[in-house]
């Protein structure tokens, strides 16, 4: 169990109000689901992202709300939803295989207790990703899922964005609703997810129908995107800066006036630097000089250990196999005396260091079969979104304008995640599997509505041959 830290609050009344509010909100959503069972699925998305049970002190904290919402969503779909439009895609099969393989490695894990604990939330994320596309049968459902994912993540992003803007950031210091360093509340993870959300926010602002495009939607979307960009600044997570770079590069591809856009981006970046906190620029400078940075040197040492481990254990060591590592690495310690600077090499010995990379996380925990399945799942997603984009981008008909931009947004979000994953261990992050579920749903939906129409059977009437008498 992750250690939970209680939040300090000034007024007990405020605690009660927040608790009652969150409980009423969840109950309200569950009640709406009685009329529209799809709302239960959205409730699960919300609970899995925001984790209101962590914000709550007594009401929601004492109930397994996540399990209740998941059971309601699944049973609602199973019992009430029509199934004729649901399709099982190849990528869902890949997730099912990854799930089964993770289950197997958990049984034979190097650290069975820790592996079982990680399995307890990973299986839910994977099962939900398999289930989600089956329910995404309409355009509005795709939009509703995207909207709930974005607005749920926004509750963490807005608070982080405002605190950063008011100067409350710092590495490991930005407090996001709860003092809990798990799930989306971990600084590197929220940095990556916040930047990956930007393409989805922009899609919703342009093509949304629940909140149709108007000035209020545009202002909110712009402010939320700004908050997303502030999160990597506030958390001082270097991964976030990298993700922003990926986003800027990817956006160039679809921008209409590329040179103007590139110029504006460069000007904005230069104009921002003086406003960044000194601690932030100091930390970002360590990106290029990793030998003086312990965190970066640890990563390289752990990755080398994992590579060697995978040669000895090609089928993986199960969840949390990194706990068995003992690493020794060298860092440079510059010492300045007067005008001269001497660099001393210091050896540091460390153990049980986490992977700090989704790729090595997969390789160490699930071995080659696991990483091959995962890479297949991810690369196929990029390729499928590209197929949709190319197929729909030149269409001008009514109701044919939203598909290519959504595919592009999902592709960009995934690409940002894949680059961020190089330096953060988020291989099983539920938010990303929801994104994959959305991709599968979009692929399946468009494949169904855009399928070739069955050819009409032509009946040729042949003249009756009358035999000559």
């Amino acid at each position: 169990m992750p250690i939970r830290y209680r939040r300090r609050m000034a007024l007990p009344t405020a605690i009660c109000v927040v608790d009652l509010f969150l409980a009423a909100f969840v109950l309200g959503l569950l009640a709406l689901g009685l009329r529209r069972p799809f709302i239960w699925l959205l409730t699960y998305l919300y609970i899995d992202i925001v984790a209101p049970q962590k914000i709550s002190y007594f009401l929601l904290a004492s109930i397994p709300v996540s399990l209740i919402a998941f059971a309601a969503a699944f049973m609602g779909w199973l019992a009430i939803d029509p199934k004729q439009d649901s399709r099982f895609t190849f990528r869902q099969a890949l997730i099912a295989m990854l799930l089964a393989y993770c289950g197997y490695t958990t049984l034979v894990a190097d650290f069975p207790v820790e592996a079982a604990e990680k399995w307890s939330w990973v299986w839910k994320a994977l099962v939900f990703a398999i289930f989600l596309p089956l329910a995404l049968r309409t355009r509005l459902r795709l939009e509703a899922c995207t909207l709930f994912m974005v607005l749920s993540a926004a509750s963490i992003i807005i608070t982080g964005g405002i605190k950063t803007a008011l100067g409350g950031g710092g590495y490991g210091e930005l407090r996001l609703l709860v003092n809990d360093n798990t799930g989306l509340y971990e600084s590197s993870i929220i940095s990556c997810v916040a930047v990956a959300s930007i393409p989805l926010i922009l899609w919703l602002a342009r093509h949304g129908t629940v909140f149709p495009r108007d000035w209020r939607v545009t202002v909110f979307a712009a402010a939320l995107c700004f908050a997303c960009l502030l999160i990597p600044v506030g958390t001082e997570a270097r991964t976030g800066l990298l993700c922003i770079g990926v986003l800027a590069t990817l956006a160039l591809r679809t921008a209409k006036r590329r040179f103007l856009y590139a110029g504006l981006m460069a000007a904005a970046a230069l104009a921002t630097i003086p406003f960044l906190p000194e601690s932030y620029t100091a930390r970002m400078n360590t990106i290029e000089n990793h030998k003086t940075d312990e965190s970066a040197s640890t990563r390289l040492a752990v990755w080398k250990w994992t590579w060697d481990y995978a040669q000895r254990h090609p089928f993986g060591g199960g969840f949390d196999a990194y706990r068995g590592n003992k690493i020794r690495y060298e860092i440079d310690m510059p010492e300045t005396a007067g005008s001269s600077t001497e660099v001393d090499s210091v050896y540091i010995v460390d153990e049980s260091r986490a992977y700090h990379s989704s790729y090595f996380e997969l390789l160490g925990e699930q071995g080659w079969p696991g990483i091959i399945l995962w890479l297949w799942l991810q690369l196929l997603g990029l390729w499928q979104m590209e197929r949709i984009r190319r197929r729909w981008k030149d269409r001008t008909g009514e109701g044919e304008q939203w598909q290519a931009p959504l595919a592009t947004a999902l592709q960009q979000a995934q690409a940002i995640y894949l680059v961020g994953s190089l330096f953060v261990g988020i291989a099983y992050q539920p938010f990303i599997y929801m994104l994959i579920g959305l991709q599968c749903g979009l692929w399946s939906y468009l494949k169904r509505i855009d399928a070739p129409k069955p050819a009409r059977v032509r009946r040729e009437i042949k003249p009756l041959q009358v035999p000559a008498a």
């Binding site: 405020a14 927040v18 509010f21 969150l22 909100f25 309200g28 959503l29 709406l32 009329r35 529209r36 799809f38 709302i39 959205l42 919300y46 914000i55 939803d81 029509p82 895609t89 190849f90 990528r91 049968r137 309409t138 355009r139 509005l140 459902r141 509703a144 909207l147 709930f148 607005l151 749920s152 926004a154 509750s155 963490i156 807005i158 608070t159 405002i162 605190k163 008011l166 609703l177 629940v210 909140f211 196929l380 390729w383 499928q384 197929r387 949709i388 197929r391 269409r395 008909g397 109701g399 044919e400 692929w443 468009l446 494949k447 509505i449 855009d450 399928a451 070739p452 129409k453």
Partner: protein, 45 residues
């Protein structure tokens, strides 16, 4: 205070979205099938 503002704003929008979805028939079935569009290729993965 910032936490309360963020929670209140996003939860209000989530609630409004859920409420609006309740009134939409196209949540459970697309009103007009876009299958009338071009239908000359396949999308297989």
């Amino acid at each position: 205070m910032i936490d309360y503002f963020a929670i209140a704003l996003t939860h209000f929008l989530l609630a409004l979205a859920a409420w609006r979805l309740m009134a939409r028939d196209d949540l459970d079935a697309d009103p007009v099938s876009p299958a009338d569009g071009p239908a000359d290729g396949d999308l297989r993965g």
